[in-house]
Symmetry: D2
Subunit: 279 residues, 4 copies
């Protein structure tokens, strides 16, 4: 499938669909969006490779003249090749379990290559599902070293997507820029409300009637990255902070897994601090 | 904008987008769907007529060769021409008010030509908004006559869309077949639960925890037409039937107005007892 | 019905229910909440006056010994006496219409005594529903004067509840303190996200996937008052600012009307910047 | 905590709260409901046993005079004693995992004593969490025998609550009447829509825009038992039956776990085919 963005002009859809048709491809799904503010055009086209006259490894090159003509950024993905995914965790296991179980049940089709924990507790779960676990402790004084080790592990495993499953550490700008728009985080509030630490405590103190969770790409600005997915749940004066945390867990699992699924299906295009989500 | 359905095959998107591009049109929005069961392909394309080289009145004819090639059913709509809409009512005013106010505030762009009531009560509201009101009483013995008068009124006003805003009468098959997929009803339950009369009483008796409303095209089978939109709201043991009716009103208004808006924007394609909704 | 708050201790429920039982009242509904942080106990008891041996006008005095014993703040309301409500508006009519229509249809039971507008446009609507409309223009230099006139009108009509139905002016601390926890505002965002002006523009710029609305009591701190009700709706990259405003209107109407209904049924107890909502 | 139902009359709340107060109990939470149709009064009172002058094992007897006076059905539960729960499964693991994980994380406080499967596949999961697994195959000809074995197992483990976690067999009336209002099932539709087999296929065929799940107590009538909890999720024409099944899994997990939690906290009172849920 093809994901592209370029300056908005006439004839893009015609040219792209003509390219696919000429080589015998059948378009299965197609989405487009035009951002009026920036004058940018976005497109996602999915077509069947059965009978397609260009071999997989040459499609990228074959498409380049079209891309050049419209000044396109583009990526081509094949559904036959699973995205290589890493999960980073601390001491909470609910999102980890959720991601692993959904993938095992076929809801997502990632190749979960490894789990990196800054605490050792999640090793047992990973063993049960036969996923390699690496314990990389992170402390203030060894942070640079620890990140170097993490990046090394991610590179060794040729990781395409890093999922922070309630990983409680802030990544350095260097780490983030190594995987641009390829690190997904779950923040346990309805951003931009309650940025930063202890959002459930903040929500309790403010007396809101609804709490939320937000999944976003990680950028250098904390909790400011492009939002992929959000959801909320109703609370009341009867809910203690402990209850908010319990209710929030459901949200965290749902919102993170939806965001990961959207990314794995190549439905998300990030631009600036926003996303286009073709679902 | 163009709405079409045809047997699914290769090259449809390419041909349609090529047609638009050739005559200088810029595609603003495009949706497609392929129904695997029936092998039917559905498409909605919206393009700008600014600079389009075919005059409005000739576009239909110009597109016919493409339609013929793929055995298409197709319709062409112009956003500059508002849909002529009639509203049929009985004694409840909440959906009537809602449709009129939303249209007045620019949320929808219908040309509301008339209101037909089988009771006289809604006349005052219509006068306040300067919409012609026709009182056509319906009783068992005069039903055929009354429907003949209603159809006559709808034809005189060249009505494109009939909205039943809690109109409490069942239309005859003849009436329904005069406006195929052009009559929208609001049923005050989450269909197919609680088909027929007094759904809130049925919901109360069953002890459900959620109630709903369903907007659908009217067909000869009562409450069986293609569903356009549904929504639900939470209830509890504390809610009396009266409360269900109150809470249900909100749903009825929201669901009916959303369905009408989707239809007015030509986003709904009905096939069999289902719809494709391109939103 | 009785609403009370007091320091939490043993025997409160027993004493209150004993008081009602002794004089022949039948408890219809009873809610309680204990706030662990502040050690405050809240209670709402509704009982039938049929056969109650104390006449209405003496119940307050009769209850005072119980109140004294537990150091209670308490209010007694009678469902037979409708709350006198004022609505303040600017140029948007959707919340005004919604409040009036719901009251007319029996969803709420307020006595809407007057509407005050800082622009003249809403007069016509008020006339149609036979509600007195007062035009009190507000400009920077006459603000104190204008507020004095508004307060005078509210006092003349013995107003219990002031509803700001998208009233676009900030009230002075003096105005606010004249009606403590008796002014309800609708803010068109999911507070505490997007405090202040143009929240839909802020939401669009941030790229959130969900927008909200918040109804709260007005306090001296802008948008910081105790939250009564919130709700949200899903949006996408396809939604322009204009669409957010349209979708937001539904939220504003629903959330404000729910908050007003809860207040009118005496189900809301404010404390600090929070509320207990007994629904 | 005390759960009771009795004919509605005056003085119940006063008497119950007086009983608790007299013996030094502090009421933590109290709910009541009066069903107008049947004239039945329902109440749930939770109080602290710290300083309560009646020892736990004698509270039941001590309360009997009050119960007798008002002709009450009543149950007394102690939060210090966990409910003994059994889970029955077939070949789907998502609800099983969900129930076990939530219990392990402290969201519920059941004592999960055993899992009974009519297929052997879930044994491995149970071993991982150290829960005894019993494989009791069920076929048409051995059904009576198999149920006898199941009931024997449930009795041996003194089971209070049986949860059918997508257990694909219909229980006999005898089995059901052995555990009245103590068997919770999850039906994968928004009841009463799509009763019976393959509800997702039914939903797909009907073209609904929302699917649901329903958790209810099992009675002799299939899918007709008192509903404890329901929830829904939005779908579209793009969703295949496979997608509905995937999306439905989330609902099944959420709705079943919420119903189980409500039951475990003794917040559900069933009467006729309805429930009162004090949450």
């Amino acid at each position: 499938m093809l994901l592209l963005s370029c300056p908005d002009t006439q004839g893009i859809v015609a040219e792209v669909s003509h390219f696919i048709f000429t080589y015998g491809g059948n378009i299965l799904d197609s989405h487009q969006h035009s951002d009026g503010e920036s004058g940018t055009f976005f497109m996602r086209v999915e077509w069947s490779l059965a009978g397609f006259k260009i071999p997989m490894e040459k499609i990228h090159t074959a498409f380049e003249p079209v891309a050049l003509k419209f000044d396109m950024d583009f990526r081509i993905h094949f559904s036959s090749r699973a995205t290589r995914m890493a999960i980073m965790v601390s001491q909470y296991d609910h999102c980890l379990y959720d991601l692993i179980l959904r993938n095992r049940e076929g809801e997502t089709h990632a190749d979960i290559r490894l789990v990196i924990g800054n605490h050792p507790q999640m090793e047992e779960i990973c063993q049960a599902f036969e996923i390699p676990f690496y314990h990389v402790p992170v402390a203030k004084k060894n942070k640079a070293e620890a990140e170097a080790r993490q990046i090394e592990l991610l590179r060794e495993h040729e990781i395409d997507l890093v999922v922070l499953a309630r990983y409680m550490q802030i990544l350095s700008d260097d780490f983030v820029s190594t995987f641009p728009n390829r690190i997904i985080n779950i923040h346990h509030s309805f951003l931009p409300a309650f940025i930063g630490a202890k959002p459930y405590h903040q929500a309790f103190a403010r007396g809101v009637k609804i709490i939320g969770a937000t999944s976003h790409y990680v950028t250098a600005d904390l909790d400011q990255g492009p939002i992929i997915e959000q959801d909320v749940t109703r609370i009341s004066h009867k809910d203690s902070v402990h209850n908010l945390i319990m209710k929030g867990r459901n949200l965290e699992k749902l919102v993170l897994s939806r965001a990961v699924k959207l990314h794995l299906e190549h439905r998300v295009l990030a631009y600036g601090n926003k996303t286009v989500v073709f679902d």
